[in-house]
């Protein structure tokens, strides 16, 4: 698979502070990459540099040599909180976006209509953007970012401000786009990343701290464990006290981490039977995505 973009030692400094510190990774054509990290990790700064809104302090951004036109023509950008000219209708706004991105004026309106239809705003195309709800604004933001069929789509927290239904709809749209467009998006929600990501890039304090596919990251960080559900918090606490293996407790659940396939389930069940504690369920599980996120971004803290 061909590389669309490679960034090498990308750095952004504000005085002595480094918002992004020597970031190096590549984006392969027609794949999606999630930039993951807590607030202040440097996700928006990285996207802004790629979109041309910020100039890097050091490092290089190299696009595929086959792209000979203005780089900004092949980029679509959706900010976290897209703002629109409230006095324009969705169609006027999207058409203007298309024209400014180099779409032929003769077909710009047609392309804008098609794009608004695609993002589910076909019925609202003649409404002023000032009357739009948060979800509609996010869809319109996506429409202006894709109306010129960019090779690279940069999305800053595209779904974080949406309710679960809106989030699902936008993620479905992005999945459709993924087949023809390279997508780089930031998020702090790993569940979103799990749905449509080929590559995960974890950032902490501007630095890349982990990189790989979801499977690779899971294998590395999601240590297996037993989750034992008791009928009460007290019962779980009693088990943690008597457990022959290192254990921890969260409410009425006790966790035993499995190392080198030990302990086996039989041993756990035997100890539980001897303890005479009231349990509801025992299961073998792996760390949740949230736990992986915390492990990765807190590593080395």
């Amino acid at each position: 698979m061909k590389t669309l973009l490679h960034m090498q030692d990308l750095t952004k400094e504000y005085g002595k502070e480094k918002a992004v510190d020597s970031l190096t990774f590549s984006l392969l054509k027609n794949t999606s990459t999630a930039l993951i990290g807590p607030n202040g990790a440097g996700k928006t700064t990285t996207l802004s540099m790629l979109a041309g809104l910020l100039k890097q302090s050091a490092g290089t951004i190299v696009f595929d040599g086959e792209i000979t036109e203005d780089i900004q023509k092949v980029i679509g950008f959706l900010p976290q909180y897209p703002k629109f000219y409230s006095w324009l209708t969705a169609l006027e706004f999207t058409e203007m976006a298309a024209k400014l991105s180099g779409v032929d004026a003769k077909i710009a309106k047609q392309e804008a209509e098609k794009t608004l239809e695609f993002v589910g705003l076909g019925d609202a195309k003649n409404k002023k953007t000032g009357t739009f709800s948060g979800g509609m604004k996010q869809r319109l933001g996506l429409a202006q970012a894709i109306v010129h069929k960019p090779s690279l789509l940069l999305l800053d927290e595209p779904v974080s401000a949406l309710d679960p239904i809106g989030r699902r709809e936008i993620m479905n749209l992005l999945k459709e786009l993924q087949t023809t467009t390279t997508i780089l998006y930031s998020t702090h929600i790993l569940n979103d990343a799990e749905e449509m990501t080929d590559q995960l890039v974890f950032l902490r304090k501007g630095k890349l701290v982990e990189q790989g596919s979801m499977q690779e990251v899971r294998e590395k960080y999601a240590n297996p464990m037993y989750k034992i559900y008791f009928i009460s918090t007290e019962e779980a606490a009693k088990f943690v006290e008597i457990s022959p293996w290192p254990a921890r407790q969260e409410d009425s659940i006790a966790f035993i981490h499995i190392e080198e396939e030990k302990p086996v389930m039989n041993e756990v069940l035997h100890v539980l039977a001897e303890s005479h504690l009231s349990l509801l369920k025992v299961e073998r599980a792996t760390a949740s995505l949230e736990e992986i996120f915390l492990q990765v971004v807190n590593n080395g803290e």
């Binding site: 928006t44 802004s48 979109a51 041309g52 809104l53 910020l54 100039k55 203005d70 900004q72 023509k73 980029i75 950008f77 900010p79 976290q80 909180y81 897209p82 703002k83 629109f84 000219y85 006095w87 324009l88 006027e92 203007m96 976006a97 024209k99 400014l100 991105s101 180099g102 004026a105 202006q144 800053d156």
Partner: protein, 261 residues
């Protein structure tokens, strides 16, 4: 670049039509243009009717020449009109940066010269158009109530005054590109009104200054202009306009990073 300009200008036009600036700015100048000759002409009757003056009070009212009425209107424009222009347009670039709408433009392959020119064009159309409309209405009433103004002198006066308006527009555009809306308003007001005031107070010591252009416009109307300082003032003002516009393009591009994302 040309196509960029037409798209961006269409956006500016739509904005000013839909926020009614296209209506209220000309109305302000039209109102002052009309009221000045009317109030000066009917002042004795107005005072008589509503002035609550004691019986037998007599005010000697000066006889105004038509040129004085036109210049009296210009002095209104020089204060209220300039306030309207500076405060009405101080955020023309900076507001888009602050509210984040500029992000949508700056991530696209736009020419910053076209971007600034689209702003400049709409400002010129609104400001120059409004002033011409106001002064033509003023000329009509002055002509009817006080007598004719020499058309050639009026055209010369109007041309000179338009140079001053372009200077003001360029100041506002430059400050809006370089600073936040609040600072742009303060600096524009200081440069347009305060410096004008200083020039009027201490200006006897020099004859060449962009801030003397409105005064020279009046001399052109009276036919009493001293050509040498007038021409030099015009040249310096035109140079300042060019520099301010170049500066506006430079700062509009430089301040992209200040856009709210």
């Amino acid at each position: 670049m040309v196509s960029n300009f037409s798209i961006l200008f269409q956006k500016e036009w739509r904005e000013n039509v839909r926020n009614f600036k296209i209506l209220w700015i000309p109305l302000v100048f039209l109102l002052f243009g009309i009221t000045e000759p009317l109030t000066n002409y009917y002042l004795p009757q107005i005072l008589n009717a509503v002035g609550n003056m004691p019986e037998g009070t007599v005010f000697p009212f000066p006889e105004f020449t038509p040129e004085q009425i036109v210049m009296s209107t210009v002095s209104q424009y020089q204060f209220i009109g300039m306030l309207v222009i500076t405060l009405g347009f101080a955020g023309i670039i900076s507001r888009e940066r602050k509210n984040g709408t500029a992000t949508f433009l700056y991530v696209r392959p736009i020419s910053y010269t076209s971007y600034v020119y689209s702003k400049l064009s709409i400002m010129c159309i609104l400001v120059v158009g409004s002033v011409i409309l106001g002064l033509l209405a003023n000329l009509y009433y002055t002509n009817v109530l006080f007598g004719a103004v020499d058309v050639g002198a009026f055209v010369g006066f109007l041309g000179t005054y338009i140079v001053w308006l372009l200077f003001v527009v360029s100041i506002v555009l430059f400050t809006s590109a370089a600073f936040s809306t609040a600072i742009a308003s303060i600096i524009s007001l200081a440069l347009v009104l305060f410096v004008q005031f200083i020039d009027a107070l201490l200006g006897a010591y020099w004859t060449i200054s962009p801030w003397k252009i409105p005064m020279y416009a009046g001399y052109v109307l009276n036919g009493s202009v001293d050509k040498k300082p007038f021409i030099w003032s015009l040249i310096i003002t035109l140079l300042a306009i060019v520099l301010l516009i170049f500066g506006a393009v430079y700062f509009a591009k430089r301040n992209i990073s200040k856009t709210k994302i």
